[in-house]
């Protein structure tokens, strides 16, 4: 039994054809950025990035929500998780992300109740099952995860759960794209937009960005053939001097996106300014709980003071996430900074560019 809508997009012969097509279309150097950890991974894991023509440079954007969560928030999460009454839940990615001094797995080793969940609804279930514990969910993610987190809070509200709260670090993609394109150091000429973010949000909001900065933006899926087609469409537009939004991932993405999901997101969250680790504050780039649901904000419920975040001076995560440097160009890559002792989030998070390079592309 093949996996439908998955296997067809991993076909080797088609991939070769596409690679040839791209190679023939490219007449001069171009720099493309993809903003999705999942896409970064597919590129590096299937070795695609090294099969693309030399003149095509693929840079990785801040597509890893774990990596862009500010250090201060991670330290806050660690402090909350260490509290005896707290049952701290999080997606797997966050467990090894280093804070200033420690990480969630170490907190667990020292007796903290830290559990991995696959869905925020699992955290709500835990809250129902353990009324004597304070269940906190580390709500980290892009717009893709926001509807799930919104539903979790909405459910908790309906159930009248007093022992459920979330530590919220939601970030939005379009403002990040603007920030990157607006930076004077930016070399990015075209974007591959994250397919699943767009499945939720649609791609209307990318149209003004494409127009303002005169770049092609291609909404792209995650399988190797999706990525190749996305790259091809972007390159074809660049060669023709066209800009605007194209939708490669039409099988899952519509221009308006998922309206019920957006509705619940609007009900529970509001847009706020957010700090992106390694980049700085990007206005109107995050989501926070609305006043009505503020009771579910773990940052308020658990006053943890005296947090001074300390980044490793060697970590250049910010530059990597803005596509200014590649992981292997970092002086600490693979030596002082490895997945076992990471200096920054991109080396540890499964969405991180550094981790992807380390695991799949490290040359001897």
């Amino acid at each position: 039994m093949t996996m439908r809508f998955v296997d067809e997009y991993r076909d080797a012969d088609r991939a070769r054809q596409y690679l040839r097509l791209i190679a023939r279309t490219v007449t001069r150097p171009w720099t493309l950025m993809e903003i999705c950890g999942g896409q970064t991974h597919t590129f590096v894991k299937s070795g695609l990035d090294r099969l693309l023509p030399e003149s095509l440079t693929l840079v990785h954007g801040p597509g890893c929500p774990v990596c862009v969560t500010p250090l201060e928030l991670i330290d806050r999460a660690l402090a909350v998780a260490a509290r005896p009454e707290v049952l701290f839940t999080s997606f797997g990615d966050m467990l090894r992300v280093p804070g200033s001094a420690t990480d969630l797995l170490s907190v667990k080793a020292r007796g903290g109740d830290v559990r991995m969940v696959y869905s925020p609804l699992d955290a709500v279930k835990l809250a129902q099952r353990h009324p004597d514990r304070q269940v906190v969910f580390f709500a980290v993610g892009f717009e893709t995860t926001a509807p799930a987190n919104a539903m979790a809070v909405w459910q908790a509200d309906k159930l009248g759960l007093a022992n459920f709260s979330i530590l919220c670090s939601h970030v939005l993609v379009p403002p990040a794209m603007e920030a990157i394109l607006g930076s004077p150091a930016s070399r990015v000429q075209g974007f591959l937009a994250a397919g699943h973010v767009c499945a939720v949000m649609g791609f209307r909001e990318y149209e003004p960005i494409a127009a303002r900065h005169r770049v092609p933006i291609v909404v792209t899926g995650f399988e190797p053939l999706d990525l190749l087609q996305g790259v091809y469409l972007a390159v074809r537009a660049l060669e023709a001097g066209r800009f605007g939004v194209e939708n490669q991932y039409a099988r899952a993405v519509t221009r308006d996106g998922n309206l019920p999901a957006q509705a619940l997101m609007r009900e529970v969250f509001e847009v706020c300014d957010r700090a992106w680790r390694g980049i700085g504050v990007i206005p109107a780039s995050g989501l926070a709980l609305r006043a009505r649901y503020a009771g579910f904000d773990a940052a308020r419920r658990f006053a943890v003071g005296g947090i001074t975040a300390q980044e490793s001076p060697l970590c250049i995560a910010g530059q990597i996430m803005q596509g200014l440097k590649k992981p292997h160009e970092c002086s600490a890559f693979g030596t002082l900074c490895t997945p076992e002792h990471p200096l920054g989030a991109p080396m540890v998070s499964s969405e991180g560019a550094c981790a992807a390079y380390y695991h799949y592309a490290r040359t001897p």
């Binding site: 067809e8 088609r14 696959y118 869905s119 539903m151 087609q229 099988r251 899952a252 998922n258």
Partner: protein, 87 residues
Amino acid sequence: MQVEPNAQGMAMGTVSFAGVNKEICLAYVPEAKVGDYVIVHVGFAISIVSEQEAEETFEILRRMGELAELEEGPDGPAGPPPAEPGR
């Protein structure tokens, strides 16, 4: 895929991943019906896969590929064009 509401009145359904079944929240895909393919993220279906769009994209994919072969001539692997992947 079976659709049935859970205790909180949240639409839940059983989604199969190559034979592995998992309970997934379908609240965001109210039009989903048995037999549909969905994109799942952290326990939620966020989009129904449009077969029609998928076929169209596929057609484009295939035609572009064949175009590349035609224009290139016997540059690529010799032999007949690659077989259609299973639908």
